[in-house]
């Protein structure tokens, strides 16, 4: 399920693995991996999709620096919650690349990281339903008092 | 857990999750006392590894491992001996 701050929301984005699926998906919201984007950028941009891009925590933003306008969503997939690179990547997207659309966290993330995620520019997280309460609890415990701007 | 173990007999040990104290698997239970610890033969390691995993999942213990015993049935490694007997010098107080 997708949690955006304190609201659960629908996820229109469907993940697709290969280009063959593109045809059936006409005019839909699709989520593609960075690898697929790099391999099939031309083909993908021929269709009118709502595009979401999934970037794993060990990938860099370099390849998409100039493509950002294509994406309605950028999703950082945490390989493990211990790998903090996506925090920096999200911040960079917002600060250096001025990306205004949705940034989402997925993969192995903990509710304990929710406030950090939001503060680094994430809008939403993909979570397991059974953990919803815990995610909300962290939001509730946060008093908005931080040392950093 | 059972990889690269030396010897024929072992104790199963862990720390109690809630207190942190060193415990040994002793006849259906965990105990900080070594006297009733189950002496596990090499053939049965898998069974006890399963027990350890289950008890980890049940949040009873943490960091389980097998303590190697030498031919005389004594704990082999210095580390495990200190872990069992406690620190080797008198405390300040």
């Amino acid at each position: 399920m997708i949690l955006q701050r304190d609201k659960v929301k629908k996820n229109p984005f469907q993940i697709i693995q290969n280009v063959d699926e593109l045809v059936e998906m006409k005019k839909k919201s699709i989520l593609i991996t960075l690898d697929l984007w790099e391999a099939q950028k031309k083909l993908i941009t021929k269709h009118k999709f709502n595009l979401g891009l999934e970037i794993a925590s060990d990938q860099s933003l370099g390849p998409i620096k100039n493509d950002l306008h294509y994406f309605k969503l950028i999703q950082f997939k945490f390989i493990t919650f211990k790998d903090g690179r996506p925090f920096s990547l999200a911040k960079k997207l917002r600060r250096s690349y001025n990306f205004k659309n949705e940034i989402r966290g997925s993969g192995h993330i903990l509710p304990d990281q929710y406030i950090f995620l939001l503060r680094c520019g994430f809008d939403s997280v993909e979570i397991e339903e059974k953990n919803l309460e815990t995610w909300l609890k962290f939001l509730e415990m946060d008093k908005g008092i931080y040392y950093q701007p | 857990m059972a990889k690269k173990l030396k010897g024929e007999y072992f104790y199963l040990t862990a720390n109690d999750l809630k207190t942190g104290s060193v415990v040994y698997y002793s006849k259906n239970n965990w105990s900080s006392d070594l006297t009733n610890a189950v002496k596990i033969s090499r053939d049965n390691l898998a069974i006890y590894e399963q027990i350890a995993q289950n008890h980890e999942k049940e949040c009873l213990i943490v960091s389980p491992f097998f303590v190697e015993l030498d031919e005389g049935g004594e704990i082999r490694k210095m580390r495990d001996k200190i872990r069992e007997k406690g620190i080797t010098f008198k405390l300040n107080n």
């Binding site: 919650f81 950090f116 040392y147 701007p149 | 999750l17 949040c59 490694k77 080797t88």
Partner: protein, 543 residues
């Protein structure tokens, strides 16, 4: 001394609540150990050989009498009546129960203390010169800067899940007492053309691959400090290795890329990311500095009491340092009495010291990275009475800076990672060389002992470093010579094959003999070693 603001209070209190919630989730199985471990570490909680261990932060090594008294209380109520002061100016409790830790944290919060970021792969508690603000050769007091960095680094949303731990140290003097060159970032306050700023060093560290830090900035303006730190951390978070825990520290990155390249990357990031809102303005800086005003009002002609007691005179000579304000002294309380575990203090000692600091030192106590304590502001005329009271507590050992003033990690007696014991080695040394006259004759000498290659006992930078190894189940000790953690930092060289526990003291004796036989007048061990070279020592030691 720094006092919590409302903001600090709320943040620390909130953290206490959060940790309680995390412990609950661990106990009921919502968090696996794999998930809980980094979270508990970020709050200073380890699982050691025998039990949990809680490391409480003493930011830049400064404690009030009230805080020290609370530490004593915690030691009695939740632990075994003692605490251990560490090489990064923190204190460790060795026996807390997981279920008690939230309560301990609440009690600590009452006296403006916490365990935040004393471990884990985040920016650790910042350390500092223990003579900050009270020595006369200082450019500027580093403590306010430590406090500024403490705030910035606490719960930093971007830098709380780094490839590995990250340690920062600050000094305000030419003479480095904070070991800044063996930190991930070392900051040295300097003055250039009348303006104060920082020299910045990165990539120092000990452990498996020791490095002395490299300078990447000659003069960083004060206002840019936080932006520049962000730039370094940002480069590290992006490029630091995560595939191999032994190669994950920034020192490896700095060494792989080289000094020039790392400087270039940091400068680029600094350009790219510099954020106006992180710029420090003079008002903010002044606000923090105001907390650190000296409690002493004015110079006096207060005289040091004269007594014939030999021990008192040894102590005066060895453990008492001039304060920058005339008529006052700085007193080092050695936590290395003969035969005791270095850095340990009992609850009754802490409680008494708390009172003593209130009676004589404006309620201020400091912790040094060499695991001693300091009473920073003593009126000279009080020295004899102070000494008498310390003596009753067993805290008047006159060995500051001498051979028995060892740095020592917990080693195999406590530590789950150790390969050999270290405390018993330190005890042997302090018993063997316990006579003051013997130590005085040897002169300044730093012995540092680690129980494994992780080097928490700083053996790489000991004049004599001792590293405990496991040789087929037997403890064995490797000796390095010539290390130093000062402004002339250097990594010690391995002298040769390691020694059994029995042969270690004779080996040290032999090394000292080489020094004794070859030293020039007034030449200390390190200088003599640097002049003579390792081969001379090796030759004598293994002949």
């Amino acid at each position: 001394m720094y006092k919590y603001t409302e903001q600090d209070k709320k943040i620390v209190k909130n953290r206490t609540k959060e940790f309680k919630f995390q412990v609950e989730r661990r106990i009921n199985g919502d968090l696996t150990e794999e998930e809980f471990k980094p979270l508990r570490l970020m709050n200073g909680l380890y699982l050691q050989l025998h039990a949990y261990m809680l490391r409480v932060a003493i930011p830049y090594g400064e404690l009030s009498d009230i805080q020290l008294n609370k530490l004593a209380e915690i030691a009695d109520k939740y632990d075994k009546g003692y605490g251990h002061f560490t090489t990064r100016q923190n204190i460790q409790f060795n026996w807390p129960k997981l279920l008690d830790v939230p309560d301990i944290l609440s009690e600590l919060a009452e006296v403006e203390m916490h365990a935040i970021q004393t471990s884990g792969n985040c920016i650790r508690n910042v350390s500092c010169d223990h003579l900050a603000g009270i020595n006369s050769e200082e450019v500027e007091d580093p403590r306010p800067w430590c406090e500024i960095i403490r705030k910035w680094s606490t719960f930093h949303p971007e830098f709380s899940f780094l490839p590995r731990k990250f340690k920062i140290a600050v000094t305000g003097s030419e003479k480095d007492r904070a070991a800044i060159k063996v930190h991930d970032i070392g900051l040295k306050i300097v003055k250039k053309l009348g303006t104060i700023g920082f020299e910045v060093f990165v990539g120092g560290g000990q452990g498996r691959s020791p490095y002395v830090a490299k300078k990447i900035n000659d003069f960083l303006e004060k206002k840019d400090l936080l932006n520049y730190l962000e730039a370094i951390l940002s480069v590290y978070n992006e490029l630091g290795r995560r595939d191999n825990i032994y190669k994950a520290r920034i020192k490896i990155l700095v060494n792989e890329l080289g000094q020039e390249k790392i400087k270039e990357l940091v400068d680029e990031k600094f350009e790219e990311l510099s954020d106006k809102s992180l710029e420090l303005n003079q008002n903010e800086i002044n606000n923090i500095f105001n907390f650190f005003k000296l409690p002493i009002e004015k110079k006096t002609n207060s005289k040091v009491p004269i007594h014939s007691d030999k021990e008192y005179n040894h102590w005066l000579q060895q453990n008492v340092i001039n304060h920058k304000i005339r008529g006052h002294s700085i007193v080092v309380i050695s936590l290395k009495p003969p035969g005791k575990p270095p850095g340990d203090a009992t609850s009754s000692q802490m409680r008494e010291l708390s009172k003593i600091s209130k009676d004589f030192s404006y309620g201020e106590i400091r912790v040094t990275h060499e695991q001693n304590l300091i009473l920073p502001h003593i009126l000279n005329s009080n020295l004899y009475e102070l000494w008498s009271r310390l003596k009753k507590l067993g805290l008047s050992t006159p060995n500051f800076g001498l051979i028995t003033d060892t740095i020592c990690c917990p080693g195999l007696d406590y530590c789950a990672l150790a390969t050999a014991r270290s405390i018993p080695i330190s005890q042997k040394i302090s018993n063997h060389f316990k006579e003051y006259s013997v130590q005085e004759k040897i002169g300044d000498l730093k012995i540092k002992i680690s129980g494994c290659i992780n080097a928490c006992g700083h053996h790489h930078v000991g004049n004599i470093g001792i590293l405990g190894l496991d040789k087929n189940g037997e403890e064995s000790y490797q000796i390095t010579l010539g290390g130093s953690a000062t402004e002339k930092a250097s990594i010690g060289q391995i002298v040769g094959p390691s020694f059994s526990t029995e042969n270690l003291i004779p080996a040290i004796e032999r090394i000292l003999k080489t020094y004794e036989e070859n030293k020039k007048k007034n030449e200390d061990f390190l200088s003599a070693f640097n002049r003579l070279g390792i081969d001379k020592f090796k030759e004598d030691l293994y002949k």
